[in-house]
Subunit: 360 residues, 2 copies
């Protein structure tokens, strides 16, 4: 009897998570189709296809999945009056629209040519307008506006998801804090761009804002808010999310330098914890090399290879691996101590391990 | 007795409108002080002072005043259960924070050096970071982010204004449509920048999105939503707002070319109804001159004088004056036909006349 129940629960659970990805895609697709159909001007319709392309090749939908897990953590699956799962999936979908804003603006700031192998929005727009005198500038401004439109669309999706008034009231502050945090993170990253420093704490703070809070903690909190979570549950989710999120970013930093199956662009030239540690420990000439590789244009393969060697030789790489392990353990300890449904905890554990595992 | 009552009502009314400006300033000031105090990083605190300077020298607070008038139009002053006026003033203040976003982004797109005599946000940031290699680019990205932060702050102010759930539910869609409309308008204007066309309808559409809807109609609708307005009242406000808003923009276009007491920057080089009309009617060589004055850098005083002469000689200036008069009449007719409290109608009438009057 107990076994059967467990199996059924697990089934429902997995089912819901799989459905979330499908439902999120459905919500985003329907929403953007409607916007496009109702656009008062063909130019608006035109630029919306770029947003659609970005949003609907969105990958693993980690943020929406975390949102649903947060809702489940707060008892959302038990049917205790915390609304239907469609409404929660709608709210989760709005996270992906916020993320479209973040990606478009990050690509502008980083001056990136491609994302996941296709031209970034501002590059695609520059190509589209190539016959115009100031195509690149026009494209940057248009892409910036499209990112802002995505931010407002995210609100529309959230407000129209069919949440109860209590759920909406609980969700709005989470969305507000999440969006300002990611913008603060983008701003601090912007200030740090182009000049290396030995400031490990500063680099960790950017990772906390841009990855840990924005990518893990707040999506969980959004779901938890929809499930009527109390402060204690919220704190438990934070205790799990922040170390996982930091570890995830540290892993990304390693992958972006040393490569791995998931790395389309290797750009060994950013202010990260990894670089800050290396800079602290490197010889004068190696420091100079690291600084040059960050300040200049894309470094040559030879220059990049020397950057990797410095990161290895100074032990910066090993230290970052150690930081990842420590944070991962901390997160799993927090998860074990939290009072979560078994299946929710097990899925979160799996996500933590996957997000922080070595990829080469 | 009736006289006394009228006087009292008028007094209360004027009192409320004056208080709105004070209250809006108070809400914005307190909000930004709290944000600044709680900022996790001194750099964030630093950039917030720029937002504060922009928001708190915000001039006449027309949008908030229209919001309060919309609320009064829906019976907001009669005390019929549509919440307290402080909450409405808070919601009205959020319009000014949205407007900070609009101004910052418009200044970036227009590459403006000053606004109301002081450096624009991106110029001030470029000066602040002048010692850095790519100061101008950094400043543009940082200013863009600050604009986006203002957009999220606007939400926070609205959500925290103390509205009832019914008011909040009614307000959110208005804010969403208003923000997408202004962004669509900015996008269409961006596409039209740097190249003149004879497309009068296109220029009018931009005026409708950026001035009439964003500046007049939606602020009235926001207030009306807070007062529980029905579709009929909303339609009445639209019938007033759109012609006033278009007339206001047409007046601005004239002032920006021909000057007037309110015009700090005369830049006779933008795609406007005025220019589209002149282009339709000008000789080939005059057309060429108009096109050059828009595409190139700031025209010389001689070139600008010739632009003005063309606008006069083609009758484009007169036509635009006529369009303003027609729209103003249409708006006042709509106002007379609308079923509004006397004082509200009288204030709206005054605003319409002031906003569209000749300024030289």
């Amino acid at each position: 009897m107990i076994n059967t129940m467990t199996t059924t629960t697990a089934h429902t659970f997995t089912g819901v998570l799989e459905d979330v990805e499908r439902e999120v895609d459905g919500v985003l697709s329907t929403f953007l189709e409607t916007k496009s159909r109702n656009a008062a001007h063909p130019s608006v319709r035109g630029i919306l296809t770029r947003l659609r392309a970005l949003v609907l090749t969105g990958g693993e939908r980690l943020r929406p999945r975390l949102c649903v897990l947060g809702w489940q953590a707060a008892g959302g699956l038990s049917g205790g009056g915390h609304g239907d799962s469609h409404a929660v999936a709608g709210a989760a979908a709005s996270l992906e629209m916020v993320h479209a804003f973040t990606l478009i603006h990050d690509d502008i700031v980083d001056d990136s040519d491609t994302r996941l192998g296709v031209p970034t929005v501002h590059r695609a727009l520059a190509t589209h307008h190539h016959e115009r005198p100031e195509a690149a500038k026009l494209a940057l401004n248009a892409a910036g506006l499209l990112g802002d439109v995505a931010l407002v669309y995210a609100d529309e999706i959230l407000h129209g998801a069919g949440l109860t008034s209590a759920q909406l009231r609980a969700a709005l502050p989470v969305m507000n804090v999440m969006r300002t945090e990611v913008m603060y993170g983008q701003y601090l990253e912007l200030l740090a761009t182009g000049r290396l420093s030995t400031d490990v704490d500063g680099a960790l703070q950017i990772a906390r804002y841009k990855s840990a809070k924005y990518g893990i903690e707040r999506p969980l909190h959004l779901g938890a808010a929809l499930g009527g979570a109390d402060d204690r549950l919220r704190a438990s989710l934070t205790a799990f999310a922040l170390p996982v999120g930091e570890a995830f970013q540290l892993r990304e930093d390693l992958v972006s330098v040393f490569g791995g199956p998931g790395s389309a662009d290797v750009r060994p030239a950013k202010q990260t914890v990894l670089m800050a540690l290396a800079l602290q420990r490197a010889s004068d000439s190696d420091q100079e090399h690291l600084r040059r590789s960050v300040a200049g244009p894309e470094p040559s393969e030879t220059d990049a290879a020397r950057v990797r060697m410095i990161l290895d030789d100074t032990g910066a790489r090993d230290t970052v691996e150690h930081m990842i392990t420590t944070r991962c353990r901390e997160a799993l300890r927090a998860l074990a101590a939290a009072d979560l449904p078994t299946e929710t905890a097990s899925t979160l554990r799996q996500i933590a391990l996957q997000a922080t595992a070595r990829r080469s």
